[in-house]
Amino acid sequence: MKMQNKPVGRGWVNWKTKHGKPAFRRLYAALSVVTCLSFACVLLFMVSALPPFGDPGNPAFNEVPRKYIEEGVQDTGALNIVAGMILDYRAFDTFAEACVLFTAAAAVLILLRSDGPLSAFDSLIQEMEDPRPNVILMQTASLLVPIILLFGCYVILNGHLSPGGGFSGGAILGAALILYASAYGTKRARRFIHYNVLRRTIALCLYFYALAKGYAFYAGANGIDAGIPKGTPGALFSAGLIPLLNIAVGLAVACVVYLFYILFSTGEFR
């Protein structure tokens, strides 16, 4: 009896259940619209004070991009300035970025791993795991998956010569794996990409990246010749460590993307 008279919930929830949700919601919506509009107005004032779009005298174009463009090829050996920048000048930043991706995969794994007895939700998901085979999807996938995989490899391997690189190529590879898994079911995909393979590939790629770039930075900072040939700029095997680092990053990204798909679609990790 006492429990029934007792109000439920905390302060504002209480107020809302008593005085009706609509009033609170209207006030909240009005306040948030006003906040967003005033925020947009402040930002638009800022935009009107910016230098014109596409102007060569833009203050963002200072000595930093100038040095990257003028000396990038001699320093890194990569024709793609952005690749040379993120995998040579600022390689540890990119390493931390790959680690953030790895940490996110680990966090999703911890949250979605199902151990213990299956709940109703889990068994419903398991029924959906391997849906009825869809002929159109399977035929299209069998045509497209090899081409997409090849294109992903091309983008990764030419990362230092043309637009692309480890992150974009890895996302393409991951997309091909997801297409395969959604057409043929994750059970069949598990035959050649087991969870352990994914896990070990990600860890190995990160280890390789850390050791290779750590060595290069240590040697460079102490004036030791690292013994990494730069090659002729423009050749496929050139630019020192950059193609290898691109491959490491690409494999790690492909595995993380596919791991996200598996975990969200089946919630299992065995």
Binding site: A40, I69, A104
Partner: protein, 125 residues
């Protein structure tokens, strides 16, 4: 002032897009729609950065034909920064969606208000 808003149309569009994402984050009670709003706002920031790096009439920063003058290419720095941003936003989105899956398993709803009421009841009882 108004003229600059029209010349800087990429930046103007990104500010409007950012406000749309921000408003979505505030106004929707569905958790997944909140994540969509967050992603729209992030995309607006990428558009802003890449627009700031662009210089009219110059090529993408990939050395072609041995031309290595700084005045031939656009600014490569914002592109490199945004590459980092995209990866972080993917990680944050995946983590948030995993949390939402857990919340849905616990409360069987995605409505934030209902979740708050249910959580309040749980705390009381």
């Amino acid at each position: 002032m108004g003229v600059r808003l029209l010349t800087n149309y990429y930046e103007t569009a990104s500010v409007i897009l950012f406000s749309i994402g921000f408003a979505t984050l505030f106004l929707h009670r569905n958790l997944i729609k909140k994540i969509i709003g967050l992603n729209i706002a992030e995309t607006a920031v990428y558009l802003y950065f890449v627009a700031k790096g662009y210089i009219t009439g110059r090529a993408a920063p990939i050395i072609a034909g041995g031309i290595q003058e700084a005045d031939a290419y656009v600014n490569p720095v914002p592109t490199g920064l945004i590459l980092t941003g995209i990866v972080i936003s993917v990680s944050v989105t995946a983590f948030a969606l995993a949390l939402i899956v857990k919340i849905y398993k616990q409360y069987e709803t995605l409505d934030l208000d209902e979740i708050m009421i249910l959580a309040g009841k749980e705390e009381e009882g």
